[in-house]
Every structure is written in structure tokens, then in C-alpha cells.
């Protein structure tokens, strides 16, 4: 069964030309890569482009991956980060200085409970806007550690820096994010209620 195999085994088989192994690896790993790119760029189109580019890169240059240095997931985040940077450089004005379009964001956030949904929408939009407004080196640690729940070690491998750097960047990013969200909370009190309910 392909699902029982490790990422490294699937990669080796995919590099040998096994399409099924490549498909299995893609299906296993594309979600986090897509969400990383989405959280970083705020654009589903860019996220899809980046996901495709990451796996094309893996098919072509996967032999360069060294399992002793990092897990495949962290390696893919590192590749995705470079493609996101490139895409953001291309669409610098629209992706960095503006938040994702409201309707674009809403279309991504599927409602389960209509009564609660509006408030959660508002919270999510406010948080996402705050995350997107962070400088890139803060944004990537927040996305990796807080949203993708990567360990500090994996984030350090993906970003190619020391764990201490990740920790200090994250600390600083949280401060900036708290300040930004405080303004949002003051503007829309419903955010505070939703956040408080999430705590309980």
C-alpha cells in the first residue's frame, strides 16, 4: 500500500518514474503546502501556482533532498517559501500591501453555522489581514509555527536559520500581531467575544 510508505520511500519511487507514488506523495503533502502559500500570499491563485511549482521542483530536483538534514515536509515548506517570495515579487503591490479581497476570502471560509459564521468570518478576516500586513520574515514564522503547527526545529530547517532566530522572530511577530489585533478588536468588539469563546 502506498499510504503505508514514508515520504522518503514515495519520493524515491516517484523519482524512479512511478506515477502512483508521485500522486500519493502529492495528495499527502499538497494541503499544507497550499495552505502555507495561501496564508503567506492571501491569494488562492498564487497558492495553487506555488503548489504546482513546488511539486514540479520535487519531481525534477527531488534527488537533492537530504533526509538527514530535514523532514520532507520542512523541505517542501522551504521550497514553497521561495516560490511564494517570487510570486509576491511579481505581484508585489497587490499581495503585500493589500489584504485578500473580501469576497475571495469569504469564498474560502465555508460556513457551517450561519449564526456563528459571520462573527468567525470577521475574526478570520481580521487575523488574516493582520498576518498579511506583517513583514515577510515575521509572517513566515507565524504561518509556519502558529498556523501550520510546525516545531521550531522544522521551521528553522524550512527557513534555513537557527532555532533561536525562529523564537525571537516569533516573539516579536506576536507583539506586532497583538497590537494590530487590538486595533481590530477596538473597531469590532465581536472579535473579542469570539476569541474569548475560543478560549473556553
Amino acid at each position: 500500500m502506498l499510504t503505508d510508505r514514508t515520504d522518503e520511500q514515495l519520493l524515491a519511487e516517484a523519482l524512479a518514474g512511478d506515477e502512483d507514488a508521485f500522486t500519493a506523495l502529492y495528495r499527502r503533502r499538497q494541503g499544507p503546502v497550499f495552505r502555507f502559500a495561501l496564508h503567506m500570499s492571501g491569494s488562492p491563485q498564487i497558492a495553487e501556482e506555488v503548489t504546482q511549482d513546488v511539486f514540479i521542483f520535487l519531481a525534477q530536483r527531488g534527488k537533492d533532498f537530504d533526509p538527514s538534514r530535514a523532514a520532507l515536509g520542512a523541505y517542501l515548506f522551504g521550497v514553497a517559501r521561495n516560490y511564494v517570495r517570487r510570486a509576491l515579487g511579481r505581484n508585489y503591490t497587490e499581495a503585500t500591501f493589500t489584504t485578500p479581497a473580501e469576497d475571495e476570502t469569504r469564498s474560502l471560509l465555508v460556513e457551517s453555522d450561519p449564526a456563528d459564521g459571520i462573527q468567525r468570518d470577521q475574526v478570520s478576516s481580521a487575523v488574516w489581514k493582520a498576518v498579511l500586513s506583517l513583514p515577510e520574515h515575521y509572517r513566515e514564522v507565524v504561518v509556519l509555527c502558529d498556523l501550520q503547527e510546525q516545531t521550531y526545529a522544522d521551521a528553522a530547517s524550512a527557513l534555513g536559520c537557527a532555532i533561536g532566530t525562529i523564537r525571537s522572530r516569533l516573539h516579536r511577530a506576536h507583539e506586532v500581531l497583538s497590537r494590530k489585533l487590538q486595533h481590530s478588536v477596538a473597531a469590532a468588539p465581536v472579535i473579542r467575544n469570539v476569541a474569548a469563546r475560543c478560549l473556553s
Binding site: 518514474g17 506515477e19 508521485f22 500522486t23 502529492y26 495528495r27 499538497q30 494541503g31 503546502v33 497550499f34 495552505r35 495561501l38 496564508h39 497558492a47 495553487e48 503548489t51 504546482q52 511539486f55 514540479i56 519531481a59 525534477q60 474560502l108 471560509l109 465555508v110 468567525r120 468570518d121 475574526v123 478570520s124 481580521a126 487575523v127 488574516w128 498576518v131 507565524v142 509555527c145 502558529d146 498556523l147 503547527e149 521550531y152 523564537r167 516569533l170 516573539h171 506576536h174 500581531l177 497583538s178 489585533l181 487590538q182 478588536v185 472579535i191 473579542r192 469570539v194 476569541a195 474569548a196 475560543c198 478560549l199
Partner: protein, 257 residues
């Protein structure tokens, strides 16, 4: 627990650990210290906010179009890999050669531009000055340029015969204002025949001894107006024909009147 200890203990925890289950001493200090309590509350707010976004986007994935496109490219790459090695190498070598020639072409074009910029103005000046000299009317009363090409002739033994001033003058008189005689067509016999027909060629005075190399080149006959000479009692200016080689050296001169 002091505030400093609280800070260092909190720094070792990530956001979700801080918001979900911090240690009891941390919670106790946060309840006692309003500053640390506010900070912890802020972290909890932030963690909850981020968790909201995380939960709302947790199921998002790339569309099926991406997978289809990837698989298409994967198959395409597999087909290329299955090709014989030689077919793989030719394009690479071809590209390398193309690149080489491209760089060479750029370098050649740059060199040509530099040479044109350096030599162009000089050549243009030389050409325009010679053209203007040729276009001047021969009958000008002041300075009349009548360029006549006079070349050295080869005799039958291959020895270069130096043109005498007489020959030069004869050619200048005989031909039109602008007349060029190709060196190959000027034989010793022709020159000898012309010599017998010319009368005033004896008037020319040679100013230099021509060496075969410099005198074998073209020369120009220029009519010049000399200022009146009070010492000789002349009031009107004198005209003189000067045979000038293209090296700028005067070969012969003749006083016209």
C-alpha cells in the same frame, strides 16, 4: 515567582501551550501581577484568533486542476527521460554553442561600433575634404584645384619608372579637370608619346627627388595664386601650378604667367 521568572518561563512555551495549559506557577503569578496577567491575556487572545483562522482554512487544498496539470507534466518528463541519451545531449550542446555564438556576435558588434566611432569621423573628414577638392572648378582665378591622378609606370622589365615633373604637368594640362589615370594603364610608351606632344612641361621645377614608393601614388595638380612680389616690380598676383602628392609633399611647381 517574579516577573522576570515569569517572562523566561513564558518564553520557553509556544503560543498554544501558553494559551491552553500553562504551568500553575505561571497562572498564579499572572493572577497576582496585573502586568503579566494582561500580557498572558493578550497571548490567549492572539492564540484564539490565530486558531480561528487556522480552523477556517484547515480543509483548504489545491484544486483538482493542479493535480491534473502536475501529472501531465510528470508523464511528459518521464517520456523525456526515456529518450536515448544522445537526443538529450544535442540540445544542450546546441544551446551552449548558440550561447557561444551569441556572445561572439555581441562582442563583434561592440567591437565594430567602437572601431566605427574611433575611425569613422577621421575617414569621413578625409573623404569629404577630397570630394570638395575634386568638385572645385579648375578655372578658378584664385585657387584652382585640378586633381589629376598621375602614377608611376612600370616598364617592361618590371622596374618602376619615376614620373618626372614634366610628365606630371603634361598630364595635368592634357586631361580634364578631374581625371584619373589608372596606374596599370599608364605605360612608358604612352608617357613617352605624351612627352613629345607637350611643350610647356619643361616649365615645371622638381622640388624633391621622388623615391619610387611615394611617387608611385596619385598626385594632385593645384593652381595657386601667389601674392604680388614688389621686389620684382609686379603689381598683379602670380599664378602657379603645384603638383602635390597625396602624402602632402609638393613634387613640382611651375609659374604660369
Amino acid at each position: 515567582m517574579t516577573c522576570h521568572e515569569f517572562e523566561s518561563a513564558a518564553a520557553s512555551l509556544n503560543l498554544s501551550e501558553l494559551s491552553r495549559s500553562p504551568d500553575k506557577p505561571l497562572l498564579e503569578h499572572a493572577s497576582e501581577c496585573p502586568q503579566c496577567g494582561a500580557w498572558l491575556q493578550k497571548q490567549r487572545m492572539l492564540a484564539a484568533s490565530l486558531r480561528t483562522l487556522q480552523a477556517r482554512t484547515a480543509n483548504l487544498e489545491a484544486g483538482p486542476r493542479v493535480e491534473a496539470e502536475l501529472l501531465r507534466k510528470f508523464r511528459q518528463a518521464a517520456v523525456e527521460v526515456a529518450q536515448p541519451e544522445s537526443t538529450f545531449r544535442f540540445p544542450a550542446v546546441g544551446m551552449r554553442l548558440t550561447r557561444f555564438f551569441e556572445i561572439g556576435a555581441y562582442a563583434a558588434a561592440a567591437a565594430a561600433i567602437i572601431v566605427a566611432l574611433v575611425l569613422g569621423p577621421g575617414l569621413w573628414r578625409h573623404r569629404s575634404s577630397s570630394e570638395s577638392a575634386q568638385s572645385r572648378p579648375a578655372s578658378s582665378s584664385t585657387v584652382a584645384a585640378a586633381p589629376v591622378t598621375i602614377s608611376a609606370a612600370n616598364d617592361s622589365t618590371g622596374k618602376v619608372t619615376q614620373p618626372s615633373p614634366e610628365m606630371l604637368a603634361k598630364s595635368a594640362r592634357r586631361g580634364p579637370a578631374v581625371k584619373r589615370l589608372p596606374a596599370a594603364a599608364t605605360t612608358e610608351d604612352e608617357i613617352a608619346t605624351s612627352d613629345s606632344q607637350a611643350n610647356s612641361e619643361q616649365d615645371y621645377t622638381a622640388l624633391m627627388l621622388c623615391d619610387p614608393l611615394s611617387c608611385s601614388s596619385d598626385a594632385q595638380l593645384v593652381r595657386m595664386e601667389l601674392p604680388p612680389s614688389p621686389a620684382e616690380g609686379r603689381d598683379s598676383p602670380q599664378l602657379a601650378d603645384v603638383v602635390v602628392g597625396y602624402d602632402g609633399v609638393v613634387r613640382a611647381v611651375r609659374i604660369v604667367n
